[in-house]
């Protein structure tokens, strides 16, 4: 039996306007989703070309969830996006060439070749770089929210986690602490129904991950994670609520991981019909259809956006390839921070 609220899809343009997005914003959202997918598709090509060391992960199917939540955040808010949340980096303004540089381990990636994949974040854009250990960023996000509460700032932290990672203690301790102290945080669960090869019933025994929110004293909401507008609206509600002192929300975005866990994985364990069913609600395609039906998206607008994205990606790839490899002589630099490292916006 579900406990969490199951969110409705977004209907009309009017409703979207009320939620704070005008037509330009909507086209921006669409563009960001295209960039998100494009970056990962190009990344995959780079990987196959042997230009990306190590492994390679994508968030195909999760573009609406990531872009929708990030669009609901203000620039003052802070988040800890994960390996399926490329869209968050895009919305918050990380330039694609730096992402490609990060993939390839070059110095202009946010992780400067020290860490790879999506283990990166531009701190100046209000993100904190994830670690592999899941969901170890949740206590950190909770601590950000604690800082906002202590300083009585109207800012919100957003902490992402997967439905698989919800089984770990870090998720519990964070939600317990945030719930008891009504901290300004939104816990976003990217529920893509698989944790590597593990199905959800081995990770949690409720219908939804969001059903757990009740156990922490706050609201749980499940939303169709392929519906960018519904995600946006629910994220916006949760963020506004947190900002207003209403405490945390657990927002679960339901999607399907449309590829293997990482490049090496053909996802043989996912039933074919499951892929087929979810392919029908591709987040980008769905939103394009919605825009045509509800916001008069024209062929020429569509082409223009697509061409712009394509150009951006192509030039970004070129620029990234020019980025130098890190100098081995720098390997041991900066294991410890110096006082000057604290000369950042947050540390005043």
């Amino acid at each position: 039996m579900a406990i969490a609220r199951e969110a409705e899809p977004v209907g009309s343009l009017t409703e979207v306007r009320e939620a704070g997005l005008d037509r330009d914003d909507l086209l921006g959202v669409y563009r960001n989703m295209l960039i998100t997918r494009g970056v990962e598709e190009r990344g995959h090509i780079l990987y196959r070309q042997g230009k990306i060391p190590g492994s390679f992960y994508t968030g195909r199917g999760n573009e609406a969830a990531a872009v929708g939540v990030a669009t609901a955040m203000t620039s003052e808010d802070v988040g800890t996006p994960l390996h399926r949340d490329m869209g968050v980096h895009i919305v918050r303004g990380v330039e694609p060439w730096r992402i490609f540089a990060n993939y390839m381990g070059r110095v202009d990636g946010p992780a400067r070749g020290r860490d790879g994949n999506v283990h990166m974040a531009d701190e100046r854009l209000g993100m904190i770089a994830m670690v592999s250990h899941l969901p170890a960023m949740l206590p950190v996000a909770t601590g950000c929210a604690l800082a906002f509460r202590i300083r009585e700032e109207a800012r919100v932290a957003v902490g992402w986690f997967g439905e698989g990672a919800s089984a770990r203690g870090d998720a519990h301790e964070s939600m317990t602490f945030a719930g008891t102290r009504k901290l300004p945080i939104v816990f976003v669960c990217d529920n893509n129904q698989w944790a590597y090869s593990t199905p959800t019933h081995f990770e949690y025994a409720t219908e939804h991950v969001a059903d757990r929110a009740e156990a922490y004293g706050f609201e749980g909401v499940v939303v169709d994670g392929t519906d960018v507008l519904a995600v946006y609206r629910e994220a916006r509600r949760a963020i506004d609520k947190a900002r207003a002192g209403g405490g945390p929300t657990l927002l679960e975005c339901l999607t399907l991981r449309m590829e293997g866990h990482a490049v090496h994985d053909d996802a043989f364990y996912v039933p074919k019909p499951m892929f087929e069913r979810w392919a029908e609600s591709d987040p980008i395609e769905s939103f394009r259809t919605w825009l045509r039906a509800n916001a008069e998206l024209t062929d020429s607008e569509e082409d223009e956006i697509a061409a712009g994205v394509k150009k951006l990606l192509t030039s970004s790839l070129e620029r990234a390839e020019e980025s130098p490899q890190p100098d081995p002589a720098t390997l041991t630099d900066g294991v410890y921070a110096t006082p000057e490292d604290l000369d950042t916006p947050h540390h005043k």
């Binding site: 190590g54 592999s132 250990h133 770990r168 203690g169 944790a195 590597y196 090869s197 390997l331 041991t332």
Partner: protein, 324 residues
């Protein structure tokens, strides 16, 4: 004898024990249907069923702590971490309960934790670590670090038989790269007995895991200089074979301790300090340590090469000792 990769030898050892002893079971993330992230247990669930090859939730403390509980009830659990790095999530359980329960409460904890560890393929800071030094310092735990396919099988079987919590560090970079003859029957390789990987008379290298091969290559280069290098493969870091190490040190009078983990406070310090104390009169040069620098493991290949000790680093160290 069949030629097996290091990875196949691990599978073989595990399968052998699971067939022989129905108390042995495997638990970990994706070990069942998927066969494990590295496919060590591919086909196991078909053979042994879903309650002896258990797909666990993403919850390392439940996995390792659960293994402990099952062991106390008489089973012989083997827990797999997807990467050794994630054992940090079960640190508290291991040092607080598993390590101390025998000594303080009399309850033995016969568990094995399999830990795919080590770098060399741009895994980055969280898929490349060698955390054995952290555990070797905790009384009550054993740490096994096989270098060869034969040892990988024999040491795994010994680890499963052992009545203590054993951390079994399997080096990912050896998985498919190293292949050798492995006896088909069941055998055990004792914990705590080093192996002379290569005999020599001028300098001893004390090492384990993937570094055995780095040492071997370096030793070959020193042959050309007319310097005879002995390579001791510790096989197990806890217990470590102090008599064998001291014997080699006394024979050669010059020692290089080599490991892939970071230097400061790494287990190499224990070995070096022990040799320097107990073979003080026999040393003709200071005991030298070569290890990774004190940083996280870098992602970029250029940086990772600078991080993991390379053959040329070891050659340089050996030359320095030779000339001392």
């Amino acid at each position: 004898m069949a030629e097996l990769t290091y990875l196949q030898a691990i599978s073989d050892g595990l399968r052998t024990e699971m067939r022989r002893d129905k108390r042995v079971f495997l638990i970990g993330e994706d070990v069942g249907v998927y066969g494990g992230a590295f496919k060590v247990s591919a086909g196991f669930q078909e053979e042994f069923g879903p309650w002896r090859v258990i797909d666990a939730p993403l919850a390392e403390t439940a996995i390792v702590g659960g293994a402990t509980g099952a062991a106390m009830m008489g089973l012989r659990p083997v827990a797999e971490m997807q990467f050794a790095d994630f054992i940090s999530c079960a640190w508290d359980h291991l040092v607080t309960i598993a390590a101390k329960q025998r000594w303080r409460a009399g309850t033995p904890v016969p568990i094995v934790v399999r830990l795919p560890s080590g770098g060399g393929f741009s895994g980055g800071p969280f898929h490349s670590q060698n955390p054995e030094s952290s555990f070797a310092h905790i009384p009550g735990l054993k740490c096994v670090c096989p270098a060869t396919p034969e040892d990988a099988k024999g040491l795994l079987i010994s680890a499963i038989e052992d009545p203590n919590p054993v951390l079994y560090f399997e080096h990912k970079h050896l998985y498919r790269r190293i292949k050798a003859e492995v006896p088909e029957e069941r055998y055990t390789t004792p914990l705590g007995k080093a192996r002379t990987h290569r005999e020599g008379s001028d300098i001893s290298v004390i090492t384990w895991g993937a570094m055995v091969y780095t040492a071997e290559e370096a030793a070959q280069q020193l042959d050309a200089d007319g310097v005879s290098v002995e390579v001791i493969d510790l096989r197990t870091v806890m217990p470590w074979d102090k008599p064998a190490v001291l014997e080699s040190a006394r024979k050669t009078s010059k020692v290089l301790v080599l490991h892939e983990d970071t230097r400061t406070g790494g287990f190499g310090a224990e070995i070096a300090a022990t040799i320097a104390e107990e073979a003080f009169e026999d040393l003709d040069a200071p005991v030298k340590r070569i290890a990774a620098p004190d940083t996280p493991v870098p992602f970029s290949p250029a940086l990772e090469k600078a991080f993991i000790p390379q053959v040329e680093d070891v050659v340089a160290g050996l030359r320095e000792l030779a000339e001392y």
